[in-house]
Amino acid sequence: MVAMTTTALSVRGLTKRYGSRVVVDHLTLEVPAGVVAGFVGPNGAGKTTTMAMLLGLVRPTSGAGTVLGHPLDHPARFLPDVGALIESPAFYPALSGIKNLRMLATVGDHDVDRIPALLELVGLADRGNDPFRSYSLGMKQRLGIAAALLGDPRLLILDEPSNGLDPQGMREMRELIAKVAADGRTVLVSSHVLSELEQVCDWLIMIDSGAVLFAGAVADFAADSDAALTIATTRPADLPKLRQVFADAGHLVELGDDRLVARMHPGDLDAVAADLNRAAFDAGIVLTELSPKHTTLQDRYLSLVDGSTR
């Protein structure tokens, strides 16, 4: 039975302990159906363990949840609609890519006729008959994604698919993720580098030390980001005076070694820049630099992680 739901994944208080070590700590989150969700956190944050619990490989110490509307502790009910690549791609080295996929398709009772199209999709059509052990790391990851797609899943769970890839391989992986998500399936993809994912994700879950730091739409995360203006003058000695001028104009700025830095909401950047420029001009101080700097999602993510570890 296919459970129709607008929430692809939902977990409440999901916890995994190994002895006294807490790997996942009361994780509560939801992933709406149809989004590409980036699951971001530093190495050891608990991403893989969380994904393994979502796939029935690891049993939670406590907590509950649903995957595609089915309880987490009944993986047989939802796994036919889930494709996954978790940890490293695991295949039989002596078998060709095609035979490895045939094996997995047979176990899952999937249509083996889909294999050529899947190899084409992941860019391995011309290497399908080569043994898996002859594949490069990027090719192995792509074969892993082809395997995950064997059952034409509604939910795709990918654990660090770009891990170890060169920049070209990472770009190809992002394009592949965007391609497989275009069919409307939900994708949960993990990485320890947000910049790898921010171009393809519309939903973000950030965790560290097994706990959620942020969960929501990328747009909401970006809206919380700030921007900055860096200001320099012809005479650094004027900086304290300029700082007072800006304060009188209602703008608090920080004094650096040879610069002033004003922080603001990204939407206010242009107006504040004009205001500061005018105030400096009126005070008779010539500016040599008034440059905007947007805080990237990666900066904000790192500041969140830093904050959580303090």
Binding site: A52, L55, G56, L57, V58, R59, P75, A76, L79, V82, G83, A84, I86, E87, S88, A90, F91, Y92, A94, L95, K99, R102, M103, L104, T106, V107, G108, D109, H110, A147, A148, L150, G151
Partner: protein, 262 residues
């Protein structure tokens, strides 16, 4: 479970594997027939402590006696093969990959073991037939009459020999899988299995002959040989079933409850 078995057959029934199996079966048949027939004497003791004499070779089961006698020595090979194959399933992550397609763990594990055993059963059948054919040649060279081999009683003995070999091989397969599941590391499981079933059991049994009746490896060796002077077939079968039952229960319990982290 048939899906998992079919998948295993896709993996194993490859040209390279089949060529290796054919070479192995042929080498086994040549070695078994030549060794057993050339070492057999009138009324003397043969290999493995079992009475393999020119007279027993002339009996109705003589055509497959070489197969059964030599097969008792390949149990250890089956044991280490299963350890290596199954442990690499865990350490290499392929067991995990199969569980992502079918999360019913016990079905996947049993299907994998059965799939390998089906292939081994096929290879054993070929090896028995080849040994039977080569035994005719060897019988002629040793002056052993073969008329009883082709009787209905001879066919019955051939089937019985085949069945006991398969039963023993199945036992070794379960024990090997148990070690693989416990340790999930091929080098570690192989090391422990090798030391236990190799030197340990045999050295202890040399000093304490009752060990032949109790050590699991030696029990299975006796089972494959169709019984030995130290352990009759019936008792070997019962004890083998007990060991296999305990090992299988422990293995299935571990697989069912343990996290799959590799």
């Amino acid at each position: 479970m048939t899906h998992v078995i079919r998948a295993q057959l896709i993996r194993l029934l490859r040209r390279k594997t089949m060529v290796l199996a054919a070479v192995g079966a042929t080498a086994f048949a040549v070695m078994a027939a030549t060794t057993v027939f050339s070492s057999a004497k009138h009324g003397g003791a043969g290999l493995g402590g079992r009475a393999v004499t020119l007279e027993t070779l002339a009996g109705k089961g003589g055509g497959t006696l070489a197969f059964a006698t030599a097969a008792s020595f390949i149990g250890f090979f089956i044991f280490v093969t299963f350890i290596a194959l199954m442990a690499s399933e865990f350490s290499g992550g392929t067991f995990r990959a199969l569980l992502l397609r079918d999360p019913r763990r016990l079905r996947v594990l049993v299907g994998q073991v059965v799939g390998i055993l089906i292939v081994i059963a096929g290879i054993a059948a070929v090896a028995e037939l080849l040994t039977f054919a080569l035994s005719f040649l060897m019988a002629a060279s040793r002056g052993v009459p073969t008329s009883a081999w082709l009787s209905s009683g001879g066919a019955g003995d051939a089937i019985k020999n085949y069945a006991t070999v398969l039963a023993g091989v199945g036992g070794w397969a379960v024990l090997g899988t148990t070690l693989a599941v416990i340790f999930r590391s091929a080098p570690l499981a192989l090391g422990i299995g090798f030391v236990w079933a190799g030197p340990f059991e045999h050295l202890v049994a040399n000093a304490w002959t009752t060990g032949n009746q109790w050590f699991p490896g030696l029990v299975l060796q006796s089972l494959i040989a169709g019984g030995t002077n130290e352990l009759a077939l019936g008792r070997a079968l019962v004890m083998g079933l007990v060991y296999v039952g305990v090992a299988a229960t422990a293995t299935l319990a571990l697989v069912a409850t343990r996290d799959v982290t590799a």
